[in-house]
Symmetry: C2
């Protein structure tokens, strides 16, 4: 059965990035949130093409591998593709020539319709302006029984959580305090009541919190 899944990064104080700036579109603190994740063997191989066998292989790596396993389609906000950063209709986003998804990716967009962009490695970007429910239906069909992953950003993730359609939320909480930035937990009071919540601490100090149905 298709599940809807989200993986997010947050600080101990619930920020998903620092304040963005022109030099640091993800915020200057992004590295502090994702450091342990980027250091995993899975991310080194899958995203950075490093097949030398380096990278951590502990609990962080188990979560890194799980985020790719069994995913049949991806949904992301316009900002995560890069639509806001570069409105050029021929630009293919900032995921490079061979994005790490390897599945159809549905980009939520309110701008004019644009044709799909097929990329290397089985990723195709589709642009959709319909409701969450409608895009989710299409992505579920495309996933063919595998899971649909909502990749972010935080506004998109929260919209899906508030809509009540998410079956599995994993948050990697880094043991740092950012003090400001987008808030993961804003407006999600009592979210836990329809989930089982479990947590696990990785060797890096990252706290992996999972909301599962």
């Amino acid at each position: 059965m298709t599940r809807v899944r989200i993986d997010m990064f947050a600080s101990l104080d619930g920020c998903t990035a620092g304040e963005p700036s022109p030099e640091h579109p993800m915020g200057a603190d992004w590295n502090r949130l994702t450091e342990a994740h980027i250091a995993t063997r899975t991310m080194r191989e899958r995203v950075f093409g490093d097949t030398s066998g380096g990278g951590t292989t502990g609990i962080d790596d188990q979560y890194a591998a799980a985020q790719f396993a069994g995913v049949g389609a991806e949904i992301m906000g316009a900002g995560m593709f890069g639509l806001h950063a570069n409105p050029d209709p021929d630009w293919k986003g900032w995921w490079g020539d061979r994005p790490p998804f390897g599945v159809p990716v549905y980009v939520l967009s309110n701008t004019a319709p644009r044709p799909p962009i097929p990329m290397e490695g089985s990723t195709t970007f589709h642009f959709r302006s319909g409701s969450i429910q409608r895009v989710l239906l299409e992505a579920s069909d495309a996933a063919g029984g595998r899971d649909v992953r909502v990749g972010g950003g935080v506004g998109t993730a929260r919209a899906f959580l508030r809509a009540g359609v998410v079956d599995h939320l994993h948050v990697a909480m880094a043991p740092v305090l950012l003090g400001s930035g987008p808030r993961l937990w804003y407006d999600l009071r009592r979210l836990e009541e329809t989930y089982e919540v479990t947590s696990e601490v990785a060797e890096s100090g990252t706290i992996h919190v999972t909301f599962a149905r």
Copy 2:
């Protein structure tokens, strides 16, 4: 050597209580934050006088016991004693006839000086209006080599954290989202940089986060 210690409760979204109301001075969500703590054997015996041997004995209980161990003096804000709730100078606060501290307790207060209140069980309440540093100096003397514990509330705890005088912060994070209420982590950006941060998940699902020097 005297250390300065703090133990706090927070939700996953960093709230230390829900919004207070006349019926619920600690906020209606206080029970959700403290449920696992109240259920420990240590709290049942020490605070509720239940010597029947009931209560949980796992990781939550280890932290409950640790919060009392080696403490020689306590500091708390006026609200935690009850000064705001009841300005009657003869009222002895809402900790009952035999408060669980068993040591001198320094209550921060900007109101008129009042004499100390000796209670049953070695607790004496002292009222002080000086600076954090000055009260801390006096409490350290009184602790006689044992630790000084800053009991709260959250405003008092944050003031001591911002002043840079806290050696050990333990936060019991309950896996719930309150959505609003006083914020533990507000204005503490990069606090972790002068501490070692470790975390541990209890059987109850509570995440115990420790900042230690």
